[in-house]
């Protein structure tokens, strides 16, 4: 059964069909959540919350073809909600955990973290989700030209951050 059929069934309230859909994209969902939140527990929370919110509101999805775009938008909102909460409750434990969990990945994570939120999302959707400019524009609800600007600026700054263009403690301000 293809995605569109599964989405149609899910819209009629078929939970199994919806679970199948999410399971199909589970790796992508988890890794995207992880890029944002940086640890396993929070990433799983984001996935759970995304499943909860998306199944609860799938009836509102007008065009089945945009399911993944729509789902990704929900996931990003959920991840941002976790980050927002964390701004209040940031703890040393979490930072330690992050460093321990995946040292190979920390370099990218740190760099992406330092990007402005909009650049961050554009970069993740383009580089990791392989979304087209058009799809990114739809996901972020911004014009395509703005996506191009975000990507261009985001890329430049990501490059500088990873290749050491900025000194420690210096972050990019648009």
């Amino acid at each position: 059964m293809d995605d569109i059929q599964l989405v149609k069934l899910a819209k009629e309230g078929d939970a199994n069909a919806f679970e199948q859909l999410l399971a199909k994209y589970s790796e992508q969902l988890y890794r995207t959540a992880y890029i944002y939140v940086g640890n396993r527990e929070d990433a799983l929370d984001v996935v759970q919350e995304t499943a909860y919110q998306s199944f609860g509101s799938i009836g509102k999805l007008k065009n089945e073809a945009y399911f993944l775009t729509w789902l990704t938008r929900i996931l990003i909102n959920c991840a941002n909600a976790v980050l927002k909460k964390r701004q209040i409750h940031e703890s040393i434990d979490e930072v330690t955990l992050l460093v321990k969990e995946n040292t190979n990945y920390i370099e990218v994570k740190e760099a992406v973290d330092q990007l402005q939120e909009n650049y961050q999302t554009a970069i993740i959707l383009f580089y990791y989700h392989d979304l087209s400019i058009k799809h990114i524009a739809k996901t972020m609800e911004i014009p395509e030209n703005t996506v191009k600007t975000y990507l261009s600026r985001g890329r430049k700054h990501l490059k500088k951050l990873i290749e050491g263009g900025f000194t420690n403690g210096q972050t990019y301000i648009s």
């Binding site: 939970a15 640890n39 909860y52 990791y128």
Partner: protein, 335 residues
């Protein structure tokens, strides 16, 4: 950085497949059963704090009927002879206590760690002691121990536990709760007995534990507020272990009103208390004249096996005397 490199690096993020699928399943099930929460039930819940405090103080606290019933249970009764050892006993029945055989000897006394458990929320060790152990002045037998080398930043890192005389010596159990924000999956816990009976000494162990999978349910819109004192509660998640339940919650209150958050009171939907084992602080933050305390309460039973709905409210005192009034808020428990 090119797209390929970015992707290659992101692909290095390990995926806990089973946990991700479970998170999806739980999220979908939550959505399926999501109903608007019933209006708050008015009424006073009898405080369970006094009972709970007794349970926390020492493992020597024994509810007579439980003690008697458990003592009749062969083997298990030796270790889990008090109410607050229900979790260990329950896990033993489910064959979820890992058998160990670590020994240490000092001052003519042998200590052997027989088993360990970590049900997702609660960590426990079972041990035997052989040798000459002297009674305390209250006619009971005790062992004093340190966890994590007695780290003062960890609650109850130096404690005394009562040990029970058996046919072949003594047996005992140590149980504690993990109040770190993230619950580690595997750990080696440094444990040292420093006094057994009246003898001081050193019996050192490094006890390996592995977390038995716990299911986490995020909780939405379980909030309450006392408008007058500007104290609010927000329940954030529930962790179901194999023999216990942990509820994570936050209480926020103004910094300058001399308010103290003591615990969460949990009851069934008829207002009957559900006893807890422990309620502690995960972290505390102050921002813009508001204190936000994140806390975790541990209950010695898997709540969603018995209840479909519970009521909770924070037990908050002002000036350590006057209770801040709260209407209980309901939580629908997912299966």
């Amino acid at each position: 950085m090119d797209k390929h490199t970015f992707r290659e690096r992101v692909d290095k993020i390990d995926i806990p497949d089973a946990d991700v699928l479970q998170a999806i399943k739980i999220g979908v099930n939550r959505a399926k059963s999501a109903q608007i929460l019933p209006s708050r039930k008015k009424g006073k819940i009898v405080t369970s704090l006094v009972i709970a405090a007794s349970l926390l103080l020492t493992s020597s606290f024994v509810v007579p009927s439980f003690s008697h019933a458990l003592a009749d249970t062969p083997f298990i009764g030796d270790f889990y002879n008090s109410f607050n050892k229900m979790i260990g006993r329950n896990l033993e029945k489910q064959n979820l206590v890992t058998k160990l055989n670590q020994t240490a000897t000092d001052r003519g006394i042998d200590v052997k760690i027989n088993g360990a458990y970590y049900d997702g929320n609660v960590i426990g060790f079972n041990f035997n002691i052989n040798g000459s152990v002297l009674k305390s002045s209250d006619e009971r037998y005790y062992a004093k121990y340190k966890l994590f080398e007695g780290n003062p930043l960890i609650n109850d890192s130096i404690e005394i536990t009562e040990i029970s005389k058996t046919k072949n010596g003594f047996s005992g159990n140590i149980q504690f709760y993990n109040f770190s924000k993230e619950l580690s999956k595997d750990m080696d816990i440094p444990l040292s007995f420093i006094k057994i009976g009246e003898k001081e000494g050193q019996w050192d162990f490094n006890v390996p534990i592995q977390q038995i999978h716990a299911t986490k349910f995020l909780v939405k819109n379980v909030k309450g507020k006392n408008e007058k004192e500007n104290v609010s509660i927000n329940v954030t998640s529930i962790m179901n272990g194999k023999a216990s339940t942990a509820i994570n919650y936050q209480v926020s209150y103004p910094i300058n009103r001399n308010l103290q958050v003591h615990a969460l009171e949990v009851s069934d939907e008829n207002g009957k208390d559900i006893p807890m084992l422990s309620d502690g602080v995960i972290q505390k933050k102050e921002k813009n004249s508001t204190v936000t305390v994140e806390r975790r309460i541990v209950i010695p039973q898997v709540l969603n096996e018995t209840y479909s709905k519970i009521l909770v409210k924070p037990f908050v005192l002002q000036n350590n005397t006057n209770e801040v009034d709260f209407s209980p808020v309901a939580i629908n428990l997912e299966k």
